[in-house]
C-alpha cells in the first residue's frame, strides 16, 4: 500500500515469564494513512498497548520480545533502525499518550522539567532554553491548563488526574508528531472529565491534522473519534472497516458480540456480554483464538488460523465464514 504512514505487518510478540512463554501478539496487521483517525478496539489484555509500545520500540525487554513482523513508518522498518534513528522517529514522528497519566509522569521531577526535556529532545529543530520554555508554556495553554507558569513548577502529585492527563497530552503534542497514539486516554479519569478530555483531544488533532491511533474498549468513543476502526482480539486484528461500514455491517462474531454488549439508552434491559473469557496466552486455543467462545465455530476454526480477507470496500475480516472454499 502506498501513502501509508504506518504499516504494521505480521507482528508477533512473546513474553517470557516464569511459567513459560506467553504468545501475546499473534501477527498483528494494521495500516494508518496520513491524516487518518484510526480507532483500535478490543477487550482489556488483547494486546492493544503492547502493539503500540512495539511501534515506539519501548516495550520493556525482558520480559517482552518481538519475534516476527515489520513496523514500517514512512516505509522504513522501525524494528531494524539504529538507536539513533529510532530516537528521531520518537516524539517528532510518533508520540504516545498513556492510559494512566499518574504512571506516565515521573513522580520526582517537576512538570516543567519533564515537559521541557520532551520539547528539547523530541522536537525537529534544536531550540534554545528560552524557546523551549516558551513552547512549554504555550502548549500547556493549548491544553487549557490554567496558570501554565505555575504548573511548570508543580510536581505531578500537586495536580488532579484530569490535569495530569492534560499535561500528558501537552507533552505528546509539544513535539508536533505526525502520528499520535492515544492509549485509552480517558479510562483512568472520572466520568465527568472524560468527555472534556476527548473533546480537547479531538479539537487539537483536528487543528493540526495529525494522524491518530485511538485505542479504546468503548465503541461509543470510537464512534466519536475515528474514521476507520480495527477490532483486536487476543493478539490479532480480526476485523477492520470504515466506521460507518463497521457499525452498520459488523461481520466477525466477536465484533457482533461487542456491538451487542453496548448498553442502549432505548430498549431497556441489560446489555448482553460475550460468554467466556479472553484466552490463556500460555496455551492459546488451536486455530482461531476466538473459536472457544464463538457460536459459529466449526472444525476448520480449530484446525486453521484465519487471516484477514477483504470482503467488501476496505472491509477486512479474519473469519472462515466469509471465505470461499
Amino acid at each position: 500500500m502506498t501513502g501509508a504512514l504506518l504499516h504494521v505487518q505480521g507482528l508477533k510478540v512473546e513474553f517470557k515469564v516464569y511459567e513459560g512463554v506467553l504468545k501475546v501478539l499473534n501477527g498483528v496487521q494494521m495500516v494508518v494513512h496520513e491524516g487518518e483517525r484510526m480507532g483500535l478496539v478490543g477487550e482489556a489484555g488483547c494486546g492493544k498497548t503492547t502493539t503500540m509500545k512495539c511501534v515506539l520500540r519501548i516495550l520493556p525487554s525482558p520480559p517482552g520480545k518481538i519475534t516476527a513482523g515489520q513496523i514500517l513508518f514512512h516505509g522504513r522498518d522501525v524494528l531494524k533502525m539504529t538507536f539513533h534513528q529510532v530516537q528521531r522517529v520518537r516524539g517528532r514522528g510518533i508520540a504516545m499518550i498513556f492510559q494512566d497519566p499518574t504512571a506516565a509522569l515521573n513522580p520526582v521531577f517537576t512538570i516543567g522539567d519533564q515537559l521541557m526535556s520532551v520539547i528539547k529532545y523530541g522536537s525537529r529543530d534544536s531550540l534554545g532554553a528560552r524557546e523551549v520554555r516558551s513552547r512549554a508554556v504555550a502548549v500547556l495553554h493549548e491544553v487549557q491548563l490554567p496558570d501554565p507558569e505555575r504548573i511548570l513548577t508543580n510536581y505531578p502529585i500537586q495536580l488532579s488526574g484530569g490535569m495530569r492527563q492534560r499535561v500528558c497530552i501537552a507533552m505528546a503534542l509539544s513535539t508536533e508528531p505526525e502520528l499520535l497514539i492515544a492509549d485509552e486516554p480517558t479510562t483512568s479519569l472520572d466520568v465527568t472529565i472524560q468527555d472534556q478530555i476527548l473533546r480537547l483531544l479531538n479539537a487539537l488533532v483536528e487543528r493540526r491534522s495529525t494522524s491518530v491511533i485511538f485505542i479504546t474498549h468503548s465503541l461509543g468513543v470510537v464512534r466519536e473519534m475515528a474514521d476507520r476502526v480495527y477490532v483486536m482480539y487476543a493478539g490479532s486484528i480480526i476485523e477492520s472497516a470504515a466506521k460507518e461500514e463497521l457499525f452498520s455491517n459488523p461481520l466477525h462474531p466477536y465484533t457482533q458480540g461487542l456491538m451487542r454488549a453496548v448498553p442502549k439508552l432505548t430498549g431497556g434491559g441489560i446489555a448482553e456480554g460475550i460468554p467466556g473469557r479472553i484466552p490463556d496466552y500460555l496455551n492459546p486455543p488451536a486455530g482461531c483464538r476466538f473459536q472457544p467462545r464463538c457460536p459459529h465455530a466449526w472444525a476448520r476454526c480449530v484446525n486453521e488460523v484465519p487471516t484477514l480477507h477483504e470482503v467488501g470496500q476496505g472491509h477486512e475480516v479474519a473469519c472462515f465464514r466469509f471465505q470461499e472454499q
Binding site: I58, P60, V89, G91, A104, V108, Y155
Partner: protein, 342 residues
C-alpha cells in the same frame, strides 16, 4: 518552610530518644556484675582507697542520685572521669573519635558509591551474567560479618601478599600532620602533607573495605531491585517514547526515583558501620573510639561506657536526620507532605 519544620520535629524527637538511651545505658552499665572501682584499682589496693574513690564517684549513693549527678554533668559537657585512663572521658573521646569517624566515613563512601554502582548496573542489565555476579556477591556480603572479612583481608593482603599495611594509621617513617580535626587524612590535606595523606589512605583501605562490604551488598540489592522495577514503569517508557535519549533517561529519570529506598537503607547501614567498627578496629589495631569502647566495657569503666554509647546515639540521630533530609530532597511527595503538615 516544610524542610525546617521537618528537621525541627526530628530534633525534638531526638532529644527524647537520647534521654531514653541515657537512662537505659546508665542502668545496664550499673547492673553488670563486678565492682568497677575494685577493677580499676586492682586487687591489692587498700579498702579505704576503694571506699574513697566510691564516694568521690558517688557510687555509694542510690541509683537515681547517681543518675542525677551524671546527667547534670553531661548537660554541662562533663561526662566524668574514666576509671582506667584517669582522664576526663571528654578528652578521651576527642582523642579517639576522629580516628573512628575517619574510618567510618571512608567506609561509608565506599559502601554508598560501589553499592549504588553495582546495584544500578545489575538492575539495568538484569538477568545477565553481570546481574548474577552481583547477586552472588550480595548474598556473600550480606551474610558475612565484617570481622570475618577483616581477618581474611588481613591475612591475604596484609601478610601473604603484603600489598597493604596491617595495623595502625600511619607508617613509622611518616610524621603525623599537625592535629586540627584529628582525622589524619583531613589534617594532611589541609596542611598540604601529601605523603601523609597517601600513607593514611593506604592504611585505611583494608579496614574500611572490610567494614563497607556488608552494607555495600545491601545497597546493591536494594538498588538493583528498584532499578529493575522502575525500568518497567510507564514514565520510563514515556520518556523514551518522546525521543529523550536513552542514556539521559537512565541517568536522570530512572536513577533519581530509584535512589530513594537506597538512601533510606544507607542511613541504617552507616549506623551499623559504627557498631561493626568495634571488632574491625581491634583486628587492625586501629586506635579508634570503638576499640576504646570495647576496652571500657571489658573493664567496666562506667563513665566511659555511658559516654561511648551516648556518642554513638548522637551520631545515629544525626545520620538519621541527614538521611531524612536527603530523602525529602529526592522525593517531592515527602517534602510536599511535610508542607501540608501531614
Amino acid at each position: 518552610m516544610g524542610i525546617l519544620k521537618l528537621v525541627g520535629k526530628r530534633l525534638v524527637l531526638s532529644v527524647f530518644v537520647l534521654f531514653g538511651l541515657s537512662i537505659l545505658i546508665f542502668l545496664i552499665s550499673r547492673v553488670l556484675p563486678g565492682d568497677p572501682v575494685r577493677m580499676a584499682l586492682g586487687p591489692r589496693a587498700p579498702e579505704w582507697a576503694v571506699q574513697n574513690m566510691r564516694e568521690q564517684m558517688h557510687l555509694d549513693k542510690p541509683l537515681y542520685a547517681q543518675y542525677y549527678y551524671w546527667l547534670s554533668g553531661a548537660l554541662r559537657g562533663d561526662l566524668g572521669q574514666s576509671l582506667f585512663t584517669r582522664r576526663a572521658v571528654v578528652d578521651d573521646i576527642k582523642e579517639f573519635l576522629p580516628a573512628t569517624m575517619e574510618l567510618v566515613l571512608f567506609a561509608g563512601v565506599i559502601m554508598a558509591v560501589f553499592g549504588i554502582l553495582l546495584g544500578a548496573v545489575a538492575g539495568r542489565y538484569s538477568n545477565t551474567w553481570v546481574d548474577n555476579s552481583v547477586r552472588i556477591f550480595s548474598y556473600v556480603g550480606v551474610v558475612t560479618p565484617s570481622f570475618v572479612f577483616a581477618i581474611l583481608f588481613l591475612l591475604l593482603f596484609g601478610y601473604v601478599l603484603r600489598w597493604f599495611p596491617t595495623a595502625g594509621r600511619l607508617s613509622p617513617g611518616i610524621t603525623r600532620p599537625q592535629v586540627i580535626t584529628g582525622m589524619v587524612t583531613l589534617d594532611a590535606l589541609v596542611t598540604g602533607n601529601f605523603a601523609a595523606l597517601g600513607d593514611a589512605l593506604w592504611h585505611m583501605v583494608l579496614p574500611a573495605v572490610s567494614l563497607a562490604l556488608g552494607g555495600m551488598a545491601q545497597e546493591a540489592r536494594i538498588t538493583r531491585s528498584t532499578i529493575s522495577d522502575n525500568l518497567r514503569k510507564d514514565y520510563i517508557a514515556a520518556a523514551k517514547g518522546f525521543g529523550i535519549p536513552e542514556r539521559f533517561v537512565t541517568l536522570k529519570y530512572l536513577l533519581k526515583p530509584s535512589l530513594i529506598p537506597t538512601v533510606s537503607i544507607l542511613g541504617l547501614d552507616f549506623a551499623s558501620l559504627l557498631g561493626n567498627a568495634f571488632l574491625v578496629e581491634l583486628i587492625f589495631n586501629w586506635p579508634g573510639f570503638s576499640r576504646y569502647g570495647i576496652n571500657a566495657m571489658l573493664r567496666k569503666d562506667l563513665n566511659a561506657v555511658s559516654a561511648v554509647v551516648m556518642v554513638l546515639g548522637v551520631v545515629f540521630v544525626i545520620v538519621n536526620i541527614l538521611v531524612d533530609l536527603v530523602v525529602a530532597g529526592l522525593d517531592p511527595r515527602i517534602r510536599l507532605g511535610a508542607e501540608r503538615g501531614k
